[in-house]
Subunit: 255 residues, 2 copies
């Protein structure tokens, strides 16, 4: 699989195509629905670009790196049934390729932005394929980028995506809420950063469950109630505080 065509020209397509290019792969062509964006990436890679899915060249592999909700429609418009084709999404199943013969998923588990360069060395890449030959080829490509390749099927990837949402998006929201609470009290969010860093370093060095602390974890219901009362001016936040505290308490009770 030497010649790769990218369907898409966004963050993932840009970072991934350039990294493959750096590692000796030939990027054959960039497709994007807008010519401008296809050209920008194609220029970086010194390759051709295309906006008409019917006029795609024949590569050794198609990598579809576009928004989740468009994958199905775009894949159906690609007429070539034999050339291996993969998408890079954490939340779309492998069954989106049912009208193709060789297909899979090549899902790099990281946030991508065009501007920030990424260290691929230890980047986890989750691979799935509908047959052994395609799987072998995808693993080979994965190994050329990273030493952290995992076989993850669509059912596992669904759960993995939920776990990523909870451990990344939800934790970020917890930080947003506390940043807001600090502002309300005219305190700098900076004040909390050393404590947050220490807590998260500890959680990632151990098992987070083993280092859980705080009023709910030690079942100090007086403090939990006091906090809920103090938050009564914001009904949604009060509910959130109460539900997460109860969830921590029930977790600790099951141990």
């Amino acid at each position: 699989m030497k010649n790769i065509t990218f369907i898409g020209s966004g963050n993932v397509a840009t970072i991934l195509s350039m990294e493959l290019h750096r590692n000796g792969y030939n990027i054959l062509e960039i497709w994007s629905k807008t010519e401008k964006s296809a050209k920008i990436l194609a220029d970086k890679l010194s390759c051709s670009y295309c906006v008409d899915l019917k006029k795609l060249k024949n590569p050794d592999l198609f990598i579809v790196a576009i928004k989740d909700e468009h994958i199905k429609d775009i894949v159906n418009l690609i007429q070539n049934k034999e050339t291996p084709i993969v998408h890079t999404s954490g939340s779309v199943g492998i069954d989106v390729f049912t009208n193709k013969n060789n297909y899979g998923v090549f899902y790099p588990l990281q946030t991508f932005s065009k501007e920030v360069s990424l260290n691929f060395n230890n980047l986890p890449v989750c691979i799935e394929a509908n047959n052994e030959l395609t799987q072998k080829d995808l693993i080979k490509i994965g190994n050329s980028l990273s030493s952290n390749i995992h076989l993850v099927d669509s059912k596992q990837r669904e759960k993995l995506h939920i776990a990523a949402v909870i451990s990344c998006n939800f934790t970020n929201h917890m930080l947003t809420i506390s940043e807001n609470l600090m502002k309300e009290s005219e305190l700098e969010f900076n004040l909390l950063k050393p404590l947050i860093k220490e807590t998260l370093e500890k959680a990632l060095a151990n098992s987070p469950n083993k280092v859980q602390t705080g009023p709910a974890a030690r079942k100090d219901l007086e403090i939990v109630k006091k906090h809920i009362n103090l938050l009564s001016y914001d009904d949604n936040l009060k509910k959130l505080y109460s539900l997460i505290s109860r969830h921590i308490i029930s977790f600790k009770s099951c141990e």
Copy 2:
């Protein structure tokens, strides 16, 4: 304030007394309700210890570093009304000292464990006092340990404590939940760590609100619903996922 007596011999008392000792303060005495634990810390500091609150020597400052729920009772048993006295708690108000004349709070905002040495240089210390002289003395002690001293009154500290619970304990719980989801799918939690690290570094380098991503933040209700359905085998987790997602959506709608 050269001579300091510690009421307590737990994690905070141990770390803080040893750091003050290192910085030239004389630890006069350690009080603990158990002789063994008082002696262990007193030996480290080459000072005397005591288990009878009526027999305390007269220091320049009492630092009460014991469990939150015992502060009130212990403070009431200390007969000396004039010597400045502070506690180190984030969640107990300054009004716990109403029977004293000079009092305050000296709250180092970090998790303490006896075993792990702590860098005090940039450790935030929150200070409050009932009069200017005591406040000045506490700031002086604070400055001798850290360059990150803040005046924080009891009302602010209440909110600060809630913010700390949400940004540390709740984020840790989010990691625990995702660790469990990974286990359920026979996936290693390690797979998620690079993504978690990247997300949190971004949040702490910027404002977390500005870097919020994920299905709820981009109002991708199909994915949110899909995840809620996938979690229907665990009613509590389903509720939690749904409530936090709604909270993120309402936050994004208010911007």
